[in-house]
Symmetry: C2
C-alpha cells in the first residue's frame, strides 16, 4: 500500500481494485446501498455466520438436543474459538478462551492479578471505557482495596509507584489512541505490578503481540463480527495461567466438570477461567464469523486500517473538522474520531443518507474502518457526504436532533 | 387431574387426550420418533424460538445492524424478557432481569448479600450443584470470608447460628428434592441471615412464590427452553434492590449507560445487576421460547409435572428400580432420579432406542417431565423401554459402556 492519498473518487475505486483484501467484502451480508462505518461498535454479519447460526439452532439444538454437547462439539467450542482468536492477537492457541462478557473477564483478571502483583491497589485512568472503570470500582469495593482513579496518561506512573494492578485499553474507545504496550509492560515488570489489557477496540484491526503481556480480555462483536453481544474472550499467558485462579470458578472451568465434584479443582491453563455454560447460539455465530479472517495476517489488517484512517483524516481536514485521533497511524486504532458540537444530529443526518457512523457524548463522531469490508471509495463517500451535511445544514432538523435511547 | 394412575398404554393416551396442556407439544420442534426426557438439562426448541432467532440474525443484525439497539428493542430485551420470567416464578415484573450465567449471578448476589446479612460467612451444602459450591469457594477466597461447607440439610441450622449467607437450590439437581422455602426464609429472617436461591431446576415447573424470598438466580435453558447456554436470570426483591449493589457493575447496569460517565451510578432496582452487553442472539431465542408459557399458570405446570413424576415412580417400582427422588410429589421437582450401578450404559441403550434421559455419576439416571411437551404415554413408553433394557441386558455392550465427554 502506498502512502499517497487517492485524489478523486475514481482514484479510490482504482486503489480498492488493487487491494487484496477487497474481495473479503463479499463474505458479508451488508444491506444494499448502506455504507457501514460502525464496525468498531457492532460488526456486520457474514453469510457464513448466518448459515452457521441456523445450523446450530435447527440441526444441533432442535434435532441434536442434549447430544450436541458431544456430537456437535459444543463442549469444545469456547476453547476452539479462543484458539482461532489467539492467532489474531499474537497469542498461543492454548492461551485464549471465549467466555462471559468483557466486563466479567476484566473482573476475573483484575481479581486474579492480585496473586501476581506486588500490591492489590487498582489503577484506572479516567478516560477508559466506562465498564472498565466501574469494574475496577466494584472489585475495589468488594475486596476493600485501594482504587486510584488517575488522569489520562498517569496510569503508568502510578503503576510504577505502587506495583499495583492497572486496567488499560490497548486502543482508547473514544480517540482510538494506541497504548505503547511494550513500554507499559516494562513498567509493570520493573514495579512488580500487573496490567490487565482491554483489547476490545484493538482485536481484528491491530497486529498485537500478546507474548509481551500476561493478562487481557477483549470484545468479539466489534472487528471480529461475532454478532450483537457475542461472548468475549480472555487471554492468560501460559506461564502465569496455572499460578492464578478465577474468582468466578463456574463449573465449566473445573478440571473435570462432569465429575460433579464438591471441591473446585481448576482446569489447566486459561481453561480455568471458564465460568458457566456459554451461550452456544451466539458462540456458534462468532466461530463462523472468524472464517472471514482465514488466510489474512494481522499485519495486513493493520496496514489497511491505517491507510484508510490516514485517508479519512486528510479528507476531514479539508472539510474543516478537528480530530482527537492520533495523526500518526502507528499510534491509532481502527477508527477515527471527529468533533462537532452538533455531532449527534450530524451522525443522524448521515444515517438518513445511508452512512452509519456513531456518536459519543458530548461531541465525538466516530467512523470505523474495518479492513475486511471497507475501502478507499467508502472513506471518500463518507467524508464527501459529511462535508455536504455540514454545508447544507440539513442536520439542524427536529428529526435529527431527537435523541434515541442508544446513541 | 385424578390421582389414580393409568393402567395401560391406551389409558395413558386417553389421559393425555384430556390434558389441556397436551396441545402445547405442537409448539415444539422435536425430532420425529424421539422421546425427550432431558428438559431438566436442555429444553427443546420451539418453532417460534427458531423463527425469532432467524429474524434476530438476518433482519435485526445483518440488515438493521447497530440501529437495532433502538429499532428492534435490543436495549430493553433483557428487562422485557425478565419481566415475562417473573410471572413464572411468582415475582413482580420489575424484579427479574436476564443476564450472565447462573454462576455469575450467584456470585453477584452472594457478594451483594453482604450488605444485608448479619455476617459475611458463606454457607453451602455439599450436595448442591457444583457451580454453586465453587462460586461460594471463589467468593470466600476473594473476600477472605469464612466458608462453611456443611452436610446436606445442615445449611439452615448453620444459617440460624451465623446469620450468614446460604446459597441454596430450590430443587436439588440430583434428587429433585424441593426445599421448604417458607421455612428457610423464616430462619433467615430470625437469624439476620440471607438466602441466595438457585432456581435452576425449579423454574418453569414449580409454582414458586418469590415474594417470600429476597435474592435468586436461575437457568433459562432447562424448563424454559431458552436454548443451549441461554443467558440466566436474576431476581432481586424490590424492597432490597436499591439497598445493595453488584460487585460486577458492568456499564449496562449504570443508571445512564449512554452518558459514558466515569463513576458508576447504579440503575434503579434489579436493573443495577446488569453487567456487560447481553448475547442478543441467544437472548432473542429465549424471549420467543417463553411464548410457549403464555396462558398457562405455574400451578398448572406444577400439577402436571407432579402427576407425571408420580406415575414414573410407580412404574419404576414395578421394574425394581430405586429412586432417590421424594415419593411425595409436593416435595419433588420436575424430574425423577432412578439408580442402577450401570446407569451410564443403560441411559446410552435407551438413547439408542430414541429415548433421551441423562446420567449423573456414579449411578443416577434422571428423567425429566416437562409439562409442556411430555405426557402419560411418554412416561409409559420410557419406563416400558427401561424395563426391557434391563431384562435384555442390551446395555452391556462396548458401545454403551464407552463414555462420552459430556455425560
Amino acid at each position: 500500500m502506498t502512502t499517497s492519498f487517492p485524489s478523486s473518487f475514481d482514484d479510490c475505486v482504482a486503489r480498492d481494485r488493487d487491494d487484496p483484501l477487497a474481495e473479503r467484502r463479499d463474505l458479508f451480508a451488508l444491506p444494499d446501498g448502506l455504507l457501514y462505518l460502525d464496525g468498531h461498535s457492532l460488526g456486520p454479519a457474514t453469510h457464513k455466520a448466518l448459515a452457521r447460526l441456523e445450523q446450530a439452532a435447527k440441526d444441533e439444538w432442535a434435532q441434536g438436543l442434549i447430544r450436541s454437547w458431544n456430537d456437535a462439539g459444543w463442549i469444545d467450542l469456547a476453547r476452539d474459538t479462543g484458539a482461532r482468536i489467539a492467532r489474531l492477537i499474537g497469542a498461543g492457541p492454548d492461551e485464549v478462551l471465549v467466555c462471559d462478557s468483557v466486563s466479567t473477564n476484566l473482573f476475573k483478571l483484575a481479581a486474579a492479578a492480585r496473586d501476581l502483583s506486588a500490591s492489590p491497589t487498582l489503577i484506572i485512568e479516567e478516560d477508559e471505557f466506562p465498564t472498565d472503570q466501574y469494574i475496577a470500582e466494584g472489585l475495589a469495593q468488594l475486596t476493600k482495596s485501594n482504587l486510584l482513579r488517575v488522569r489520562p496518561d498517569e496510569g503508568l506512573q502510578r503503576l510504577a509507584e505502587t506495583g499495583g494492578i492497572l486496567i488499560r485499553s490497548a486502543v482508547n474507545y473514544r480517540t482510538a489512541a494506541v497504548a505503547d504496550m511494550k513500554e507499559a509492560e516494562k513498567v509493570a515488570d520493573l514495579s512488580g505490578g500487573v496490567i490487565v489489557w482491554d483489547l476490545s477496540h484493538a482485536t481484528g484491526v491491530l497486529a498485537l503481540d500478546m507474548s509481551i503481556a500476561r493478562l487481557a480480555a477483549g470484545c468479539t462483536y466489534k472487528y471480529l463480527n461475532g454478532g450483537p453481544g457475542a461472548p468475549a474472550f480472555i487471554y492468560v499467558r501460559q506461564d502465569v495461567a496455572n499460578r492464578i485462579t478465577s474468582p468466578l470458578p463456574g463449573w465449566m472451568g473445573h478440571k473435570s466438570p462432569f465429575n460433579f465434584a464438591s471441591h473446585y479443582e481448576p482446569a489447566d491453563g486459561v481453561a480455568r477461567f471458564a465460568n458457566g455454560t456459554p451461550p452456544i447460539l451466539s458462540l456458534s455465530a462468532l466461530a463462523a464469523a472468524l472464517d472471514a479472517f482465514e488466510g489474512i495476517t494481522p499485519a495486513e489488517l493493520e496496514a489497511k486500517a491505517r491507510a484508510l484512517g490516514d485517508f479519512c483524516l486528510s479528507l476531514a481536514e479539508k472539510i474543516g473538522l478537528q480530530s482527537s485521533s492520533p495523526a500518526i497511524s502507528t499510534r491509532r486504532g481502527g477508527h477515527v474520531t471527529l468533533h462537532h458540537e452538533n455531532g449527534y444530529a450530524i451522525i443522524q443526518a448521515l444515517i438518513a443518507r445511508g452512512i452509519i457512523g456513531d456518536f459519543r457524548s458530548p461531541d465525538a463522531m466516530r467512523f470505523g474502518f474495518s479492513p475486511l469490508y471497507t475501502g478507499f471509495a467508502d472513506v471518500w463517500r463518507a467524508m464527501d457526504a459529511l462535508g455536504d451535511v455540514l454545508k447544507t445544514g440539513e442536520w439542524d432538523s427536529p428529526t435529527f436532533l431527537a435523541r434515541a435511547k442508544v446513541t
